[in-house]
């Protein structure tokens, strides 16, 4: 039985916070409003007080605990490596246990889990869309207003695809015999919003002769439910996914979404022994591609005469786990790309799972800062490795009145590959 870690299990980690204040320099939510309850140090003090019975789950406490993007910026800079994002997630589970899920949290849980129990797959796409993406005019591109429930009015979103990614490809694509076999965990972002990025990945993998499995019955990773505090949903989805993966023979599970990668690689292993080999098996697509010598192959392609200035945004869920070089290596090797580094490439985009639903104003402030860094870099395109970041960054650029396009690195890879 998959079981998420509880707040009580983090006793030792909580004690490791020495209250130095380093997190104050790196927390995006604190950067927007400098209130100690927003920053990692404050949240750890509050989690500690909750465990000791020194604080009630009153309004201020709930607000402070909701003011976290689970981005792990604090963790990546913490001298003692205290996993605040995990401690906050565990505190939210406790809150949900006592107070029940929020309305939105219930929505997330119902969609993700219910569909999960009832063969969450291609068919669920429509249902997911109808809950989250209702009344979405298909011809309005990125600049549309979004009147669906729980979504703030002026958020701009990409259109939902008519044909989800997993309906576009067979479940098994054979490559060369001596090449590894990868299981592609698509995630919801690639499946419903950015299937072309998935198509691009298939082309890159085929180019290398890799064998590909795309299980049709795979589920959402469950990370949005972690953010909402819906423990049972996360556990159910993890179990379902584990059963799906177990049906196949593969060398690696690859992801093209930083959040899914983090869900599988970092959250699942805490839920039971059956996930023990995930940290080793689950690979971000660019880590895998670099290992397979793809950057060198791209380097061999003739460079374009006119190259586009491209910068890279580090998704929190990759940066926290040390994946920063590989996506850049691929970008730098692309023949049509002139790579420029932006200042604070590793700062959070402001999405933070369900965070931007509750705190869209703060998310917008964080996004505006990021839009500034993008502007200053002089890049025309911003490439990244996470559908959530793409959505949030494009929204921030739209609000800032910028012209830059945000896309997945894979989209650029597709342009570079010979037909």
């Amino acid at each position: 039985m998959a079981k998420l870690k509880q707040l009580e299990d983090y006793r030792e980690e909580i004690d490791q916070c020495v209250k130095c204040g380093c997190c104050r320099a790196h927390c995006p939510a604190f950067g927007a409003v400098k209130h100690e309850g927003r920053v990692a140090r404050g949240k750890i003090a509050l989690a500690d007080a909750l465990l000791k019975g020194d604080v009630e789950m009153e309004e201020r406490f709930l607000l402070d605990m909701s003011q976290c993007l689970l981005c792990g910026s604090c963790y990546s800079q913490c001298p003692n490596k205290v996993p605040t994002e995990e401690i906050v997630a565990a505190t939210r589970l406790k809150i949900a246990e006592k107070k029940g899920l929020s309305t939105f949290g219930k929505g997330v849980a119902t969609v993700l889990k219910h569909q999960g129990l009832m063969d969450f797959g291609a068919k669920a796409g429509g249902k997911l869309s109808s809950l989250l993406f209702k009344k979405l005019p298909e011809d309005s591109g990125m600049q549309l207003r979004f009147p669906a429930p729980f979504v703030t009015k002026d958020r701009t979103l990409p259109p939902i695809t008519a044909k989800p990614f997993r309906d576009r490809h067979p479940e098994f694509i054979e490559g060369e015999k001596d090449k590894p076999t990868v299981l592609f965990f698509t995630g919801c972002g690639i499946n419903y919003m950015y299937p072309e990025s998935g198509d691009a990945m298939i082309r890159a993998l085929k180019f290398l002769g890799i064998n590909i499995i795309i299980p049709k019955d795979q589920n959402c990773c469950g990370l949005p439910a972690v953010s909402a505090g819906a423990a049972e949903t996360v556990e159910t989805l993890a179990e379902k996914n584990q059963k799906v993966f177990a049906k196949h023979n593969y060398d690696y599970i690859v992801t093209a979404c930083a959040s899914c990668n983090s869900g599988l690689k970092n959250v699942y292993p805490g839920m039971g022994d059956e996930f023990a080999d995930y940290p080793e098996k689950v690979k971000d697509i660019f880590v895998f591609l670099v290992e397979q010598g793809f950057a060198d192959k791209l380097d061999e392609l003739p460079k374009a005469a006119q190259r586009i200035k491209v910068t890279y945004h580090d998704p929190c869920h990759l940066r926290n786990h040390g994946v920063t070089k590989e996506p850049r290596a691929i970008l730098k090797a692309l023949p049509q790309v002139e790579y420029v580094e932006m200042e604070n490439a590793g700062s959070c985009c402001g999405l933070g799972g369900t965070y931007s639903v509750y705190h869209y104003d703060t998310a917008k402030q964080i996004g505006a800062k990021k839009a500034n860094f993008i502007n200053e870099s002089g890049a025309e395109l911003v490439a990244t490795d996470c559908p959530g970041c793409i959505m949030q960054l494009q929204d921030s650029i739209n609000h800032a009145g910028g012209k830059q396009k945000i896309l997945h690195i894979l989209d650029l890879v597709a342009d570079a590959l010979p037909d």
Binding site: K19, H35, L46, R60, N80
Partner: protein, 461 residues
Amino acid sequence: MLNTEFIAKLQQVVGAENVSTNQADLICYSYDATQKQFLPDVVVHPSSVEEISAIMKLANETGIPVFPRGAGSGFTGGSLPVGGGIVLVTTRLDKILEIDEENLVATVEPGLVTEDFQKAVEKVGLFYPPDPASLKFSTLGGNVAECAGGPRCVKYGVTKDYILGLEIVTPTGDIIKTGGPTMKGVVGYDLTKLICGSEGTLAIITKIIVKLLPKPEAKKTMLVMFDSIDGAAQAVSDIIRNKIIPTTLEFMDGRTVDCVRQATDLEVPDTANAVLIIEVDGDKEFLDKQASRIAEITKPLGVVETRIAETPEESEALWQIRRSVSASLRKVNPDKFNEDICVPRSKVPEMIRKIDKIADKYQIPIVNFGHAGDGNIHVNVMIDSKVEGEQEKADQAIEEVFKGALELGGTMSGEHGVGIMKAPYIPLELKDVAVDYMKTIKKALDPKNILNPGKIFPSDV
């Protein structure tokens, strides 16, 4: 618990949204980097000097203590609300009011984060040198109140050397200016220097006038490993005797080097028993010459290896060894008591030997690193406070370390201040008449003892 009438008055001054008495907020403003906790009764976030003045007047009427707080990152408890009262947070006052490029002076508010200020002046080719390790999050108000130091002090001096003037609110609520934007000024007592390092006990700082320097064109980093601490210490003296004042001269002793070796995969040869990280700054053309001169000077002193960084990335890699210390130490023992004694720089090796003896006597690991160039040693007593008797041993060891530093003509604290942590040890360093002299000043300026009480002095005023 404060009465509702008093809270209502505070709300009138700063607005209801900037006054908080709920438990979660009180917890969030109850601690600092000492990890001690004292719950305040109320937290206020004022946004102007007038509001702060009004708060101090209210506090005087009622006798309720006020505890000024910046980032709450101090190591001695300077901002802790001991005994309860009002925590007054300065983070809303975080603006740069002026950068005067003609006079090389800037005026800032106290809640401004040090690094944000440094970045802003560096954008126009200017330089604010004081660089406490906490500069990414500590505030300038806190830096002034504690007279913060940092690695660059060996060449550039400490915070007080850069403060030309202040605007302050006195403990009784008056607003006064000390000093001003001129390089010279001798009218009356030098209150600016008195406030610098007074740990928030004599005034609340509301504006800071800062002296700036032109930004050095470039810097060069090198790392020299020695087979003994004596070689490293001799190197410090010899470099300075040769008329080279590096920007930083950071050292790590043998026990620190051991920790780094065990905890990281950074390359540190087994024969290295002390490390110096040396940085020089100035015109580009002189830096290579200086670096090779330093390599020459240190060569006969038992050098195991010298690394000179040629690129910013290489420089970063050298600093990585120093930065990995903090996390490495935790693998020795979970609890760290970080003291910051300072001795004349020629006495550093003698001090390290004294500390090694103390560590052997009490059988607890003590690791030392810090700013060799100015004799400021960070002494880290590593214990597991859950083990019975360890805390007592640590306390005794720390007292002996302080005594050792004083015997060598040094001080208990180079840059962290006294706060509540070192208050019990004050009689070791200061004679009664000296303490009385200070207390007399405190009493005269703060008759009701309501501004940051319980700090610095062993028994309350």
